[in-house]
Symmetry: C2
Subunit: 224 residues, 2 copies
């Protein structure tokens, strides 16, 4: 599998590394790359992984399987995205999830330990790498915290208020687009789509906001 440095240097993991530095750095990390067929398992629940996964092409899904074999999708990993990075830095922690190729998918596995070891030849690259991987972990942390904070609200309306005010805050404006359609938003907030839809319209009728498709506009009454 041929590796595109042009692609790699734009990923969150290698961001800030130049195309010239990449071969040296990769030499030092000794990554393994592989292609997986659609529906093939990349990582299995119960395994002890010490590698960070990086999607090169296709799409990987992080799934959880319970006693009864019910699969729930915890995350989608697109090209450039990392997966299993939380397990890579916790030796002995067994995978609670599986990772499966949602389509033909190219994957690079990088050993977590080697990332952190001091390596005489590429030490300054390592510093950048560590900053990137820490930033990525921190980013996922905040995203999860936000999700929990929305989900913790008791009613559908409160979940919506929490989510929308958060989006408004993040965009720095009363008017913003959300990255979900209705079904996806309902899934994200873990509520029923139809109930959420009617709640949204109720809020519109009360003058709290207006919306059209993905575009939302919060009104004065929203935070009052």
């Amino acid at each position: 599998m041929n590796i595109s440095y042009h692609f790699l240097k734009k990923t969150s993991l290698f961001r800030g590394t130049s195309e010239e530095e990449l071969p040296t750095l990769l030499d030092c990390l000794a990554p393994s790359t592989r292609e997986y067929a659609k529906n093939e398992l990349i990582l299995r629940q119960g395994e002890d992984v010490s590698a960070v996964g990086l999607v090169l092409s296709g799409r990987a899904q992080v799934i959880e399987e319970d006693f009864w074999g019910n699969r729930s999708i915890l995350a989608d990993a697109w090209p450039g995205d990392l997966f299993a990075e939380a397990y890579a830095f916790l030796p002995g922690e067994l995978l609670r999830v599986s990772v499966v190729a949602a389509e033909p998918t190219g994957v690079m596995l990088l050993d977590g330990k080697r990332m952190l070891e001091v390596c005489s030849s590429a030490c300054r690259f390592h510093t950048r790498l560590v900053q990137n991987v820490l930033a990525e972990s921190a980013r996922k942390n905040l995203a999860l915290t936000r999700k929990v904070s929305h989900m913790s609200k008791r009613s559908t309306r409160e979940k919506l208020l929490s989510y929308l005010s958060g989006q408004s805050l993040a965009s720095g404006s009363d008017a913003f687009e959300i990255p979900f359609n209705r079904q996806q938003l309902a899934d994200y907030l873990c509520v029923d789509r139809s109930a959420m839809s009617s709640e949204l319209c109720k809020m519109r009728d009360e003058g709290l906001l207006t919306f059209d498709k993905n575009h939302f506009q919060l009104k004065d009454g929203f935070s009052a």
Copy 2:
């Protein structure tokens, strides 16, 4: 404020560092320490922090305040615990939460950048530090992922099944203790205590499990 190396070397951040190495390492990190009175704000929502917080004594609470001033507690940080570490490694990310001293509390703040910089005198200490902070971030990540996975379940019963099977898996046994009383478990799963209590008893009557206080024992029927 006098610093106890004996205490520090046991924290998740400095784990693996000897008491002899600590002074050198701390010199290099140039931390600031301070005492806060009860209810005093340690970090304010909206600030741009680049420091990792470490609780030395007392107790700090991570809280979120919405439009209407309703406070919800996102986390308790006890002596040895870190806080705000996700923000410390994301420059420019503004605090979405506040941190307040729940009682008279001693705090050490360590600059995130200095932790990652290569420092000639203490480089090998840094490597350990980075491993520790990454492990801690990964640990919180997994804890949050698990919580989301439980909360995502639709009904109270499914949330309980998800939580209990997870605890069973983690303990490696059908019999285990949980770290919550009923009210705390209900808060963790975001359900009503009384509804949860009756659901637990229903499951007991159906033969899925038995329990006494914090002790639970899953029966054969549980995963069937």
